[in-house]
């Protein structure tokens, strides 16, 4: 990862000539055809704006916009970001370093497709920092009953239960930063010896006591880079969350209950046509997993949990239901097995795929006749189950023992 010091001299020269910028907007991928004319809208407020865009090619000649400057910076991030599932959260280090160098009052890192950016959207990510002293602005993307289910079923409720913050999309990748937070993120974490920006930024901010808010964005959550490979995505997401549990044990084990992060804008729930989900296929995948992966699951799951799964394999499709408590227990028991290195961690997490699909199947069957808005209530129940069962995770984390119920 290039340090500012290792940026080409012309970039450093340009930064010196720019001197400072009120706002830095950093794209982590960019094409010459991407339109940035909307940036004029930002400069109308009298803000000095610098837009940083990456790439190894030629510098792009933009139409001049008053109050807006452009900077072409070298970055290895976009390639990694787009291609490597383990790096789906990207690295913001280069943009953050530029923002720090220019003493910006707010910084926005844009990881989604550049053509989705607009003045309104960028403004909603930087204004809470400029006007209300928030340190991290996390987008609330549009929600849908059957959309972003890894987030709904695991990431969001798990983050809430463990870290005590109700954040709709804790792993969102388009973010607004305060100078305090970006200064922290560019530092190397003494425990992991990597820059904090390459760790999970939401939990970094929570554990550092930073002020976090959400802002509604009228756009769908970005799709993972390789959406066809569910196992890789699950392994990457869960691996990141579970590794963070070890690093942040002293924090989350003290956190009790949860509270909402302040939210701006009206959250939007997409009216979604009923999708033709092949629930039968999901259930068959689970049943196949039960037959083939029992040995691995046996390393992670307690006897009582395993017994519940065995009963589930015998359910008819119509009656197929995975209770919230069972699902939460599965997630927590995999977190414990990950911590105890019960087996190769990547294999362990990939083996969770059929279990996740069984939860999806159960959820889908429950949601088929529920209104588009009604699923929020359902997910709230799930989140409470995560919170209620947190003591189970805590007790087994603190006193690991194979002799479990």
């Amino acid at each position: 990862m290039p340090e500012l010091e290792s940026f080409p001299q012309e970039v450093k020269d340009q930064l010196t000539s720019v001197g400072s910028a009120d706002v830095v907007i950093g794209f982590t991928s960019f094409k010459a055809t991407d339109d940035l004319s909307w940036a004029a809208g930002l400069a109308q407020d009298g803000l000095n704006v610098l837009i940083a865009y990456p790439g190894g090619g030629d510098v792009i000649e933009f139409q001049p916009i008053a109050g807006v400057q452009f900077l072409h910076y070298p970055a290895s991030t976009p390639e990694r970001y787009l291609n490597a599932p383990k790096n789906i959260f990207g690295s913001f280090q280069e943009v953050l370093q530029i923002a720090q160098r220019l003493a910006s009052k707010s910084c926005c890192v844009w990881n989604s497709a550049p053509q989705l950016a607009s003045a309104d959207i960028i403004e909603s990510l930087i204004k809470p920092v400029l006007d209300q002293n928030f340190d991290l602005v996390i987008p609330g993307y549009t929600t849908a009953k059957f959309g972003a289910l890894i987030n709904s079923g695991i990431i969001c409720p798990l983050t809430r239960a463990l870290y005590g913050r109700r954040i709709e999309f804790p792993m969102a990748v388009d973010l607004g930063f305060s100078p305090q937070l970006l200064n922290r993120l560019i530092q190397v974490d003494p425990n992991t010896r990597v820059p904090r920006s390459s760790q999970w930024i939401t939990t970094e901010a929570i554990c550092a006591g930073m002020q976090i808010c959400q802002t509604a964005l009228l756009m769908e959550p970005p799709r993972p880079p390789d959406s066809s490979d569910l196992s890789s995505i699950l392994a990457a997401v869960l691996g990141r969350i579970f590794s963070d549990l070890e690093r942040n044990a002293a924090f989350w084990q003290r956190s009790k209950g949860s509270r909402s992060a302040p939210a701006f804008g009206e959250p939007y729930t997409k009216e979604q046509d009923e999708v033709a989900v092949d629930v039968t296929h999901l259930i068959e995948t689970f049943q196949l997993g039960y037959r083939n992966l029992s040995e691995i699951w046996g390393l992670a799951l307690s006897p009582a949990t395993f017994l519940e799964l065995k009963k589930l394999t015998k359910s008819s499709t119509a009656a197929f239901r995975m209770g919230d408590d069972l699902w939460v227990r599965i997630v927590y028991e995999f977190a414990l097995a990950h911590r105890q290195r019960a087996m190769n961690r990547d294999h362990l997490l990939r083996s969770m795929t059929p279990l996740y699909l069984s939860w999806v199947a159960s959820y889908t069957l429950q949601m088929l006749d529920v209104s588009a808005d009604g699923f929020h209530h359902r997910l709230e129940q799930l989140a409470l189950a995560y919170e209620n069962q947190k003591p189970y995770l805590l007790s087994r984390w603190r006193w690991p023992d194979r002799f479990n119920p």
């Binding site: 005590g164 913050r165 003494p190 003591p391």
Partner: protein, 567 residues
């Protein structure tokens, strides 16, 4: 520009779990019967899994080894039995890679009589700077008020040197002449040695036997004001060029005398709390908390940037110098039935045999170690309950090879058994067939697994390393109960020192409304009310509680405002 240490936090030592080991006894990589740095490096993963964060290495420098390496003949090298300087550096890097700090010994009170400085001194003319590296006298009556420390072997602190035609001063063995810190060149050489190792990346130094650096007529030659000037100068020199390093003082003295070695935070960062250790054993045997609460009450506050080092056992005897005569007699009767268990003024036994291999007693004492104010220091092998060999001389009975498995030589070495530096423990109770790492590693009910869990638990709560302590005084004196408080966080520790179940009612009215959460199982207990809080504890049982607000609240704020008044 100061050379940084491997730790980022200058107060890292407050949160540390220190593990004391001898390179010679840990693991032998070249099968010569003696442990070495390459062997130690191979076993770092074990130590990382155990959870310890700082390794304290006993002396590994060139030495005739007449005092287990505390008789140094070259400060700037590695004893060839243990490897090379490159081996040491590779070990240091590997430890840092695993986020473990490394502490080494700086034995500055004395050298070996084989050190070139001494050989030069005894032949140098009287009054010359070479001669003045050591303390000489034409009479063996000088400093007569100074006690003899190694009473079993030494009859005087002076020994006649025929080459020098004078007596030389030694507070320990006669082959360990004391350096003369009235000679500025001595301090200069000591600082060179110190900087040499700090420049390599060593994180901490244990200053051996520092109360005895300076001698003065008419005194007992311990803890003299000029000694503190020397320590201050060492600290200043360390801070001048190095960041985030630490000095640990070995001063086997009463708490008020040890307090002086912290200075105003400008002498040692840490010091051993010697008097606490025997009183923990005494309280357990008497089934009465008084010895512990009494010595803690006698312990003065220390500067914010300083810390006590606490331990149950170490490489020396269980020292009984800092107890009263009656207490010493009691300890001998209680813990050393066989006279061979005694050496100097103490008891040369490991933790498990002292506890007669009673697992609950071992766990109870470790729970006190992990929850008392200070940084806990574990002695190698005690995490698996290793035994000792009282038939070996001096203190070698507690310095036997680490027991890795049930193979030949306990897996410590592939050498023929006769070549081992010390024989392995072979008795039926503590022998390596019964007690070894491999057997305990895969056993979730083993002492090793218990220790790992306890260390991991302690590391979650900074209050243990940084907080204050407040003893509760329940009527039942078999119960030791105390609060650890730091930054609004409160932990209640309750220990039953008795072999039988005991009831207790704790006055916790300042925490009324708080919900005690038992820390190991995260089990919620009934809320604290205005009446004394009743608990029952089984034999040798201990309980730790987080005191949480009864109302669901903000993340990370476990205790009510009312509780904060103690902090």
């Amino acid at each position: 520009m100061k050379l940084p240490g491997s730790a980022q936090d200058p107060l890292w030592f407050k949160d540390a779990i220190i593990y004391e080991l001898h390179v010679r006894a840990f693991f032998d990589s070249n099968n010569d019967g003696i442990g070495d740095f390459q062997g130690l490096t191979q076993r770092l993963d074990y130590l990382q899994d155990l959870g310890v964060t700082c390794l304290w290495l006993l002396p590994f420098f060139p030495s005739p080894l007449r005092d287990d390496g505390y008789d140094i003949s070259d400060y700037l090298n590695v004893h060839p039995d243990y490897g090379t300087l490159d081996d040491f550096r590779a070990f240091l890097d590997a430890a840092h890679e695993r986020k473990m700090q490394v502490m080494i010994e700086l034995v500055i009170n004395h050298t070996s009589d084989q050190h070139p400085w001494f050989q030069r001194a005894r032949l140098a003319p009287e009054g010359s700077k070479e001669r003045e590296f050591y303390v000489w006298s034409n009479s063996n009556e000088k400093y007569s008020q100074a006690r003899i420390i190694f009473t079993d072997t030494e009859k005087s602190n002076w020994t006649w040197d025929p080459a020098a035609k004078a007596y030389y001063w030694h507070r320990f063995f006669s082959h360990q002449p004391d350096l003369n810190f009235d000679n500025p060149l001595v301090l200069e050489e000591v600082q060179k040695a110190m900087n040499y190792w700090l420049d390599q990346g060593v994180d901490a130094l244990r200053l051996d036997a520092i109360p005895y650096l300076i001698e003065r007529d008419g005194t007992n030659c311990e803890n003299l004001p000029d000694t503190h000037l020397i320590v201050k100068e060492i600290r200043r020199a360390m801070d001048e060029n190095h960041a985030n390093r630490m000095i640990l003082a070995e001063a086997n003295q009463w708490p008020n005398d040890v307090r002086a070695y912290f200075g105003d935070g400008d002498e040692c960062h840490m010091a051993f709390h010697f008097p606490l250790m025997p009183r923990i054993f005494m309280a357990l045997r008497l089934e009465d908390r008084l010895p512990v609460t009494d010595i803690i009450a006698q312990t003065p506050p220390i500067p914010e940037n300083c810390q006590w080092g606490i331990f149950l056992r170490n490489h020396d005897e269980l020292t009984l110098e800092m107890v009263t005569d009656d207490e010493r007699d009691y300890m001998y009767l209680a813990y050393s039935a066989d006279p061979r268990m005694r050496v100097n003024v103490g008891i040369r036994r490991r933790l498990a045999p002292l506890m007669e291999n009673n697992r609950r007693r071992i766990e109870l004492l470790n729970s006190l170690l992990f929850s008392f104010p200070g940084t806990p220091i574990l002695y190698y092998g005690d995490e698996i309950g290793m035994g000792d060999n009282i038939y070996l001389g001096d203190r070698n009975g507690v310095r036997t090879p680490m027991q890795w498995n049930a193979d030949r030589n306990a897996g410590f070495s592939r050498a023929i058994p006769a070549k081992l530096f010390n024989p392995v423990i072979m008795d039926p109770i503590y022998g390596y067939n019964a007690i070894n790492v491999e057997a305990q590693d895969g056993d979730p009910s083993s002492l090793l697994s218990w220790m790992r869990n306890m260390i991991a638990l302690r590391k979650i709560f900074q209050v243990f390393g940084r907080g204050t302590i407040k003893f509760l005084n329940p009527a039942n004196t078999k119960i030791l109960a105390y609060l650890r408080l730091w930054k609004g966080e409160a932990i209640l520790c309750v220990a039953n020192l008795s072999r039988f179940p005991q009831p207790v009612a704790l006055c916790l009215e300042n925490f009324a409304g708080a919900k005690p959460i038992e820390m190991m199982g995260y089990v919620e207990f009934p809320p604290i009310g205005s009446q004394p809080y009743p608990l029952s504890l089984g034999a040798y049982e201990f309980l730790w509680f987080e005191l949480h607000q009864s109302k669901e609240g903000e993340a990370g704020t476990p205790i009510s405002e009312k509780g904060a008044k103690y902090a």
